[in-house]
Subunit: 199 residues, 2 copies
DNA sequence: ACCTGAACACCGTTCAAGT
DNA sequence: ACCTGAACACCGTTCAAGT
């Protein structure tokens, strides 16, 4: 008879995210999510499959929250993207670490990856190797953001972590510009960045 | 009256590790750990505090399983340590990702960190900045190993991941040798590694 | 000192039932 | 089509009791 649904998948995921942000992953209970939506726990199963599916949806939400920049110089785009990733980790410190534990071939992840790859190729990276470089760079950035969010560096000052992040970006820039991954003999400007220094 | 204990903390942690390796973190149940030791669940609480403490112990076990090398050229030591970290991740793929989610100031973590720092200083890194460089390098290596262990790159071949890891090490080496973090004017051999190329 | 048995509040998930 | 109520097997943890 087409009763109008009172909740939908996005709402369930948003409720789970809000609970995780406020009280950690342990607070994400089918019962708690349902209560937040004013519904019984079993009502969730029509929209979410099971709890693992709910967590997957929450992680994917994080990924799609970080759209890759499309304007500006190639490394500027990468630096802004990395910064946005870091901010997402700060917004959702309890969920973010799950990002490193799931296959990196979801739709949202692919979109980010493509943005990184085209920036890298603009920076002179051999298109045949840009995917490999992308894995390296994104793993380093995700690893840092996850560590920071989860409190692995909680005994360091925010200012120190900002410096660490800047140094990380500098390492990545130098690596790309070193020409290790460019096509033979086509390494553009293998010494030093063309723009202003990072720090 | 000093009854001789039938189990101890190390045994509980080892049992938890074995269960996690075989069936994932979800298989690490107080009941399952106890059953594996031939004891009731409540017997564990004398040795382990609670379940979070058990997981902490399991993670710390992983760290102490990777002793930093003390012989050989500085970068060779770092490369072997990174390889050992990667192997630890492969041995305990379900527990390893937790390593990035816990404060990096446990005894075992400190020992590894000190080994990395002295290698870096031998490589010319300013002692005042070696701790910062260590955070960057270890985060990149842990992030890669955790990603690989958790299956984030499961759609890539083992051979591809070996190449990724080699490229990661090359990036780290180039960064240290670039002289960004050496004391002013004391950058030793800022161009190219002294030994054979990595790949 | 070390382990057990019984009990508690909670968890994810199922199934059949309601509208 | 969407939600509910009752039920099930399991979870971590407590407390008092046993030896």
């Amino acid at each position: 008879m087409g009763r109008t649904a009172r909740i939908d998948r996005d709402g369930v995921i948003a409720a789970g995210l809000a609970l995780a942000d406020a009280g950690g992953l342990a607070a994400v209970t089918m019962a708690a999510v349902a209560a937040r939506l004013g519904v019984t726990p079993m009502a969730l199963y029509r929209h979410v499959g099971d709890k693992a599916d709910l967590l997957d949806g929450m992680v994917e939400h994080l990924v799609t929250e970080v759209p890759p920049p499309t304007t500006g110089p190639w490394f500027d785009r990468l630096a802004r993207l990395a910064g946005a990733v870091r901010e997402s980790a700060r917004r959702h410190p309890n969920v973010f670490p799950l990002l490193l534990q799931r296959p990196a071939n979801t739709p949202g992840a692919r979109q980010v990856r493509d943005g990184v790859c085209s920036a890298l190729e603009e920076g002179g990276v051999d298109p045949a190797r840009s995917a490999q470089v992308e894995r390296l760079l994104s793993t380093a950035v995700l690893g840092f953001a996850a560590s920071e969010a989860a409190g692995r560096f909680s005994h360091h000052s925010p200012r120190q972590l900002d410096q660490d992040f800047a140094l990380l970006l500098e390492m990545l820039l130098r690596f790309v510009e070193s020409g290790v991954t460019t096509v033979d003999g086509a390494a553009p400007d293998p010494r030093g960045p063309p723009g202003a220094p990072l720090r």
